[in-house]
């Protein structure tokens, strides 16, 4: 006789295994040089998402009958040393299960869209493979019951996102944008990794239930406030990169280099909100960390303001939508900072749906514009709220330049992070060269980075 726990375990495993299996089903034949046909590829990947979605809905139903009591699914243990353990745990609760339904559902829709949109494109298989990797990573991250599992999902998200930005390998711009996103991700991943180490140190395991219980959204923090603050700050740092918060926001508009459907699901819907999800998951920690919350509010509002101003001067549809996404993502950060739970969750889901639709139909801009003009009987006038109209001319030019230069994000990040980092590397390389020379070998002429 299967207990309730067994059923949920099975379903949750299924939510994870279904997309993961499609990665293998498509990836292995493709690696062997015999990629499945377009139809089969889309069916396999779509089937994985459908199975995940159905399993998610069933889990939701099961949980709902029990009043959303969280179920922890223990899949195994990675390693354990003494009383120190890194276990592989998933959690099905009021946060993760609805979110899985939503994300697999959206993935399924984008899958159906991309099947026609990418028809006969040389990278067809690669796209679907990456979509499946993304779906797997997303579910892993959402269902994670420990910070280690979360990190694994988080990284799958990052790598699939990078590879899809650089989908058109032959175009320099695309590859550069992918590198930029990847670099930002990696820098911010340090936050998550350090947080994981801290968590392990504090509670001897990465499990969330040892950190803040298991009763989302009413968890209680089980670690001292100092640890909570430290971990929270690191998580905020990690989330800033993936959710394109100031000052790590510059990669987002550039990420619109991939095919439209991937832009929609990554930067309109799911990937952009991964940071918010992690923060929501750890809300109990944040509760104990007012400093982190203040920072969150500041960053969130700052991002929203920045993106709103910059978004106003964007002249292409996808950049404009990227900044619109960033605005909302900033607001969501601030909402989390205020200590709200349900509002940001609803905001995330609601915004993701709307924005992915907008990005998917962004090539319709001309069509929509004509429709609108026909309906209004003329051009829709410029925005009445247009910023800067009432400023004196000199200030207008100045503000406009800030907006056009995207808030100088490129320069700021360049000066604050990239230049020192490269300088450090240069120094290291130089030291190494000297060291080698000292050892007697004539080191080859090191190539200067430009």
């Amino acid at each position: 006789m299967m207990t309730n726990h067994d059923i949920v375990s099975l379903l949750v495993t299924c939510q994870l295994a279904a997309p993961a299996a499609t990665v293998a089903l498509v990836g292995v034949p493709a690696l062997l040089g015999r990629p499945p046909s377009e139809r089969a590829t889309a069916l396999i990947v779509g089937g994985g998402f459908a199975a995940g979605f159905i399993a998610g809905v069933l889990t939701l139903a099961v949980l709902a009958t029990r009043g959303f009591v969280p179920e922890i699914v223990h899949l195994g243990s990675w390693f354990s040393v003494g009383h120190h353990e890194a276990s592989i745990e998933l959690v099905a609760d009021a946060l993760s299960v609805p979110y899985v339904c939503f994300s697999t559902g959206l993935c399924g829709l984008v899958n159906a869209f991309a099947r026609k949109y990418l028809h006969r494109e040389p990278g067809f298989t690669r796209f679907f493979l990456l979509l499946a990797v993304f779906g797997t990573g997303m579910n892993l991250m959402v269902l994670a019951g420990s910070i280690d599992v979360l990190f694994a999902g988080w990284e799958l998200l990052g790598i699939s996102s990078t590879l899809l930005i650089g989908f058109f390998l032959e175009r320099g711009n695309a590859v550069r944008a992918a590198m930029r996103a990847f670099a930002t991700y990696r820098v911010c991943d340090v936050g998550l990794l350090t947080a994981a180490v801290l968590v392990h140190r504090a509670v001897g395991s990465g499990d969330f239930n040892r950190l803040f219980g298991e009763n989302w959204p009413n968890g209680t923090c089980l670690v001292p406030a100092a640890t909570a603050t430290m971990v929270s700050l690191l998580l905020v740092f990690a989330a800033m990169g993936k959710s394109a918060q100031v000052p790590f926001s510059g990669w987002l508009p550039q990420a619109m280099e991939g095919p439209t459907p991937s832009s929609a699901i990554f930067y309109g819907a799911l990937s952009i909100h991964a940071g918010a999800y992690v923060l929501l998951r750890c809300e109990a920690l944040l509760e104990q960390a007012p400093l982190a919350r203040l920072l969150l509010i500041a960053i969130g509002l700052g991002t929203a303001l920045h993106a709103n101003v910059v978004g106003r001067v964007q002249t292409d549809l996808k950049s404009m939508l990227a900044y619109a996404s960033m605005t909302q993502s900033g607001l969501i950060f601030a909402e989390i900072g205020f200590g709200w739970r349900i509002i940001p969750l609803v905001h995330v889901i609601s915004h993701a749906i709307l924005r992915s639709l907008q990005i998917l139909r962004s090539p319709s801009a001309l069509h929509d514009r004509h429709e609108l003009e026909a309906a209004l009987g003329g051009h829709p006038g410029a925005d009445r709220w247009a910023l800067g109209r009432w400023l004196p001319e000199r200030l207008q030019a100045r503000f406009y330049r800030i907006a056009l230069d995207r808030g100088f994000d490129q320069m700021v990040v360049g000066r604050l992070f990239v230049v020192p980092f490269l300088w450090l590397l240069e120094c290291a390389a130089d030291l190494e060269r000297r060291w080698l020379a000292l050892l007697g070998g004539s080191a080859g002429p090191g190539r200067r980075r430009s």
């Binding site: 829709l109 159906a112 869209f113 026609k116 949109y117 006969r120 989908f167 058109f168 711009n173 695309a174 944008a177 990420a255 280099e257 095919p259 459907p261 929203a304 303001l305 709103n308 001067v313 964007q314 002249t315 549809l317 950049s319 404009m320 990227a322 619109a324 605005t327 909302q328 609803v346 905001h347 609601s350 915004h351 749906i353 709307l354 924005r355 639709l357 907008q358 998917l360 139909r361 962004s362 090539p363 319709s364 801009a365 001309l366 069509h367 429709e371 309906a375 209004l376 009987g377 051009h379 925005d383 800067g388 207008q396 030019a397 100045r398 330049r401 230069d405 100088f408 200067r448 430009s450």
Partner: protein
């Protein structure tokens, strides 16, 4: 600071040279600049800019896509030269890749006979290549065409030699004779001596390669020995001569020179993102909520105002940009250009090329700015004061700043060469940038690497392969003297990739030409002149090749169904404002400017209902507009997305998962809210007043008479009119498709031609017009009525206009016509589906009809239809001659009756309208298919609408012009084969007044064929004269209906005779076997 006596003078000219640098640098010690010289310089800059402008893409805002020849500027040159020149200028391809042609050769699309034929006409009177007469140039070239020969550099050959057994074996694709020759000769040859020059060879791999072949004796002994013997001989042979070195002219742009020295520094990569942002903000037509301040003053002025402030950080390279822009502030663009060119150190002789290359480096944007400069009326929303000189000036300022930075970067590496130049961080400032950059330019040009010919290993390898193909043995090669060897090598290298591809292309076109002309020659014997009986229905459609299948299926319905083709504006050039439009747009070929405006109005009785619906619609529109902008803002957007965003799930799921159903629902909902009101065209003008835009509000009866008579005469429909004549324009509807208008009617300037059809039908039905026509000798029977309609080439539906205005007596005819057209539409949809891989080959007609409908409303569909892809032929002549010929939607069909055109006047005006439209479409598709990156706009997937005027790839790229890959994917790039049913003399006379068309013909941008109206003999225009065409085959396949010919096949189909559409022949005429 040294005082310059000419400072004041130059200042008054607002020359930046002084204004920028008088503070920190000594004034340039140049020759005296006086006003006259300055004016001269300004003049030559303007000339250079104008000449550069010719080469920019001519595509306008994407909302109105007009297919044009992207090589329009080169039409004055012969085609074969033009494509090469353009390829060099644009960095594009002149033809398809050789691999692609070889694939076509392998699958029989190109035949060896075609290659031989084009080769014969290409070589004239060249004798033997080698002294012993064994080898002719033709043999050599044919061998190189038929067999792929690997031309690689030394490194690649070295790799090949180590990794593959090419030297140990003979090629697999040798002809039996060549093989036999090689082997039989090789066996007689005894052992060979050691290569005496071996010690000379310092190349390790060469030595190894020499020993390698012999080291593995044994198995396929004969072949191996022959081949390696030959290899030895080749290595010896090439060592007799030296490899060539060609000193190519170094590029003029600093960017290219710097890139040649250090591939990591590409100044364009630095400048372009910024420049693209400027241009996009400047030309934006309403995407950004906050338009660029000060853009009414022009691009240069606006940017200098915004960017010259000291405020704000810059990127490393652009640290000097604000200062440079400050200097340019308030100056005229030409002065800025002159000053920048001086500073960049470009000598005046190179200005022309420098400016051309500079404008072309970002040619999409430059072209758009040029277009908006010339045609401000084409800006979708508001005209901006675009000027190409502004763009070039801004670009040069940015370029100079970037080059300055790059030179400092290079300074680190080349500091040995710059002893006098202080180096270290930011060291260049001691030297005036002008002279500094000038030196950079000269020095880099001097150091520009010469192009070395292939190395000895590569040459030996090439010779080895060619010798095998030609059956030349080791002994033959050794027997050649130095001169012969040189000649042979030169002949091989002279037959380079471009030449081979040109010949392949000619062969590719030749096969198509033969196939088409054979079919015409064969089919004309079956053509029957129109019978005397009155046809049931006549339909006049656009000449568009997409209408070919619709016409064929319509004709297959029975003998009484006749069709005609003409330019799809039906001779009614007008500005048109539909009831839903808020402004009038031109509906006529772009070469014309309409002089009349026609407005669609609600019927008198429906006025109030129309007002009601319009108000409702406006409110819905306002709501939708505010939602879409609101969702992007901070506060409204936050509230809206947080609480109502999830509502978007409904359209998201519906649109993606059930496109056709949701479109139907949407349409029904729209119909319910704004029920279509009956409308009429305000076609006839009342007074003689002009509208504010200088056009007449409608036509008067005289003009209508001229229009109707001209059209009917043009298509030869002056007798035997049926009771009901349908005039059907065409348009296309699709979603999520920035290139939507590329699918509309080319003859309507990228708009749908329904209004023209409707207007024409109204004119032709007017009894006053008919009365006047009868007076002029063209009598339209009293019971003949015209009806206008529009064919949606994407969804395959026909909708009709003003059917209820026809008299009761014609109701039944209208119903029958509707049914007939619906049937033809279904059959047409079925035929189109064979081209769509996502439609199964065994699709039923009904499913096909649903399939194409779904394509037209699917957000995810990047190929709603295939547009003009596969167009290849234009046939101008009587339909009776081509009726029943399956032309696979590849032929523009223009109706023209040579028997009524006594002086060629009709042909002249037909060609005047048809020539530019058809050749424009053909060449636009041609070049987009030849090079999807260079001339086309590549795949649609990353396209990003910018400024509502064009598409970019991703977030910041050049504006992409041309056609997307998805549209041209199945297109065979062929020059249009224009067959005119007229004698050569008539054609020559008729084209004489049309300079543009003549140029296209003489320079071979189109192929011209005369089809004799009497005898049916074909003659092809070649090098200034008509050459009679001798058919290769006398018969073409015969099928009962179109469907039995195309069913189950996806590829291009050869013409076939479709019996269902061929009129029954009178019993008397002899049946041809």
């Amino acid at each position: 600071m040294e005082q310059d006596p000419h400072r004041f003078l130059r200042r008054s000219r607002l020359s930046i040279a002084t204004m920028t640098h008088h503070r920190d640098q000594p004034a340039p010690t140049q020759a005296t600049l006086c006003r006259a010289a300055e004016a001269d310089r300004a003049e030559s800059i303007m000339v250079a800019i104008e000449s550069a402008a010719r080469f920019l893409p001519t595509q306008g805002p994407i909302g109105v896509f007009i297919a044009q020849n992207p090589l329009h500027a080169f039409e004055c040159e012969p085609f074969e030269d033009a494509v090469v020149h353009a390829a060099q200028l644009y960095g594009a391809q002149p033809y398809l890749s050789e691999t692609r042609y070889r694939e076509e050769l392998a699958r029989g699309r190109i035949r060896a006979a075609d290659l031989e034929s084009v080769l014969d006409s290409d070589i004239s009177g060249v004798g033997a290549l080698l002294a012993n007469g064994r080898l002719s140039l033709r043999d050599l070239r044919l061998a190189l065409l038929l067999h792929p020969v690997r031309q690689e550099d030394d490194a690649a050959v070295r790799w090949t030699l180590t990794e593959q057994d090419v030297v140990e074996r003979l090629r697999d694709d040798l002809s039996p004779e060549a093989r036999w020759q090689l082997l039989s000769d090789g066996s007689e040859d005894g052992i060979e001596n050691q290569d005496p020059r071996l010690s000379d060879s310092d190349d390790e791999a060469t030595r190894r390669a020499l020993f390698f072949p012999g080291s593995e004796a044994g198995q396929a002994g004969e072949e191996q020995r022959t081949s390696s013997e030959l290899w030895h001989a080749c290595v010896e042979a090439v060592s007799l001569t030296r490899p060539s070195i060609t000193h190519s002219r170094p590029p003029v742009r600093h960017r290219d020179l710097i890139l040649a020295v250090d591939p990591a520094i590409d100044t364009d990569n630095l400048v372009h993102p910024l420049l693209i942002r400027f241009c996009a903000a400047f030309v934006d037509q309403g995407v950004a909520a906050w338009p660029m301040p000060g853009r009414e003053r022009g691009l240069l002025e606006a940017v200098t105002r915004i960017y010259s402030g000291r405020f704000g950080p810059t990127e490393p390279w652009s640290a000097g940009l604000p200062a440079a822009l400050r200097a340019a502030r308030g100056c005229h663009a030409v002065d800025v250009i002159a000053a920048e060119l001086d500073r960049l150190g470009v000598p005046e002789a190179d200005w022309n090329e420098y400016l051309t290359r500079t404008s072309l480096a970002l040619r999409g944007w430059a072209g758009m700015i040029r277009h908006l400069e010339e045609r401000p009326d084409r800006a979708p929303v508001e005209p901006v004061p675009a000027r190409l000189v502004d763009f070039v000036a801004l670009r040069l300022v940015c370029d100079r700043v970037a080059v300055d930075w790059a030179s400092r970067q290079l300074g680190f590496k080349n500091n040995k060469k710059h002893e006098n130049n202080s180096h270290g961080t930011g060291g260049g400032s001691a030297v005036p940038p002008g002279s500094h950059l000038q030196r950079l330019w000269t020095e880099l040009r001097d150091r520009y690497p010469p192009r070395r010919g292939p190395g000895s290993l590569a040459r030996a390898f090439l010779l080895h392969q060619v010798s095998q193909l030609l059956g030349l043995t080791a002994r033959d090669i050794r027997g050649l003297d130095e001169n012969e060897l040189l000649r042979l090598e030169h002949a091989i290298s002279a037959f380079d990739g471009f030449t081979r591809r040109r010949l392949f292309h000619l062969a590719y076109e030749r096969r198509h030409q033969i196939q088409t002309l054979d079919a015409l020659a064969s089919h004309v014997r079956f053509a029957t002149p129109a019978s005397a009986t009155r046809p049931l229905f006549q339909a006049v459609l656009c000449m568009d090749e997409r209408c070919e299948s619709f016409r064929r299926h319509f004709e297959e319905l029975g003998q009484g169904f006749e069709t005609f083709g003409t330019a799809g504006f039906f001779g009614v050039p007008m500005y048109y404002r539909g009831i839903d439009d808020w402004h009038a747009s031109p509906l006529c070929p772009i070469v014309m400017r309409p002089r009349h405006t026609v407005v669609e109005l609600p019927e008198d009785g429906a006025q109030s209902r129309h007002e009601f619906h319009r108000n409702l619609r406006r409110r819905v529109g306002q709501f939708a507009g505010s939602v879409s902008t609101g969702s992007r803002t901070l506060l409204r957007g936050g509230l809206f997305t947080a609480f109502a965003g999830a509502v978007a799930a409904v359209p998201l799921v519906a649109r993606v998962a059930f496109p056709r159903l949701s479109a139907r629902l949407g349409r029904t909902a729209a119909e319910l809210t704004r029920r279509r009101v009956p409308t009429r065209l305000a076609l006839e003008r009342e007074g003689e007043d002009f509208l504010p835009d200088g056009t007449h509000a409608g036509f008067d009866v005289d003009e209508m008479v001229v229009i109707v008579r001209r059209m009917l005469e043009d298509i030869g429909l002056t007798t035997r009119l049926s009771r009901l004549v349908a005039v059907i324009g065409h348009g296309s509807s699709s979603l999520n498709n920035p290139h939507e208008s590329a699918y509309d009617c080319g003859a309507c300037g990228g708009g749908p031609g329904g209004a023209n059809a409707r207007a024409f039908a109204m004119m032709a039905n007017d009894h006053r017009v008919r009365g006047r026509l009868a007076d002029e000798g063209l009598s339209i029977p009293d019971d003949t009525r015209f009806i206008g309609g529009i064919l949606d080439t994407c969804a395959d539906t026909v909708s009709w206009f003003d059917a209820d205005r026809l008299p009761e007596s014609h109701r039944r005819d209208v119903d029958e016509l509707r049914r007939a057209c619906d049937q033809a539409c279904v059959a047409d949809a079925h035929e189109r589906c064979r081209r769509f891989e996502s439609a199964p080959l065994d699709i039923t007609p009904r499913e096909a009809s649903e399939h194409v409908e779904a394509r037209s409303v699917d957000l995810a569909q990047v190929r709603p239809e295939l547009g003009h892809a596969t167009n290849a032929t234009a046939i101008i002549g009587r339909r009776s001659r081509t009726r029943g010929l399956f032309l696979d939607r590849r032929a523009f069909l223009v109706s023209y009756d040579p028997t009524t055109d006594y002086d060629g006047g009709i042909l002249t005006r037909t060609l005047a309208a048809v020539g530019p439209v058809a050749s424009g479409i053909s060449l636009a598709y041609f070049f987009s298919a030849i090079d999807r990156l260079g001339y086309g706009c590549d795949t649609k997937l990353p396209h990003n609408i910018t400024g509502l005027i064009g598409v970019m790839d991703g977030h910041a790229s050049d504006l992409r012009t041309g056609l997307p890959w998805q549209t041209v994917e199945i297109h065979e790039p062929l020059r249009l084969l224009v067959v005119i049913e007229a004698t050569p003399e008539t054609i020559i006379n008729a084209t004489a007044p049309l300079a543009g068309v003549r140029q296209l013909i003489e320079n071979r941008w189109i192929h011209l064929v005369s089809w004799d109206p009497e005898t049916g003999a074909l003659s092809v225009y070649e090098r200034g004269r008509f050459v009679p065409y001798v058919p290769e085959l006398n018969d073409i396949p015969v099928v009962d209906r179109s469907v039995s010919w195309y069913a189950g096949r996806r590829d291009h189909l050869s013409p076939a005779r479709v019996l269902a559409a061929v009129p029954k022949r009178p019993a008397s005429s002899a049946r041809h076997s």
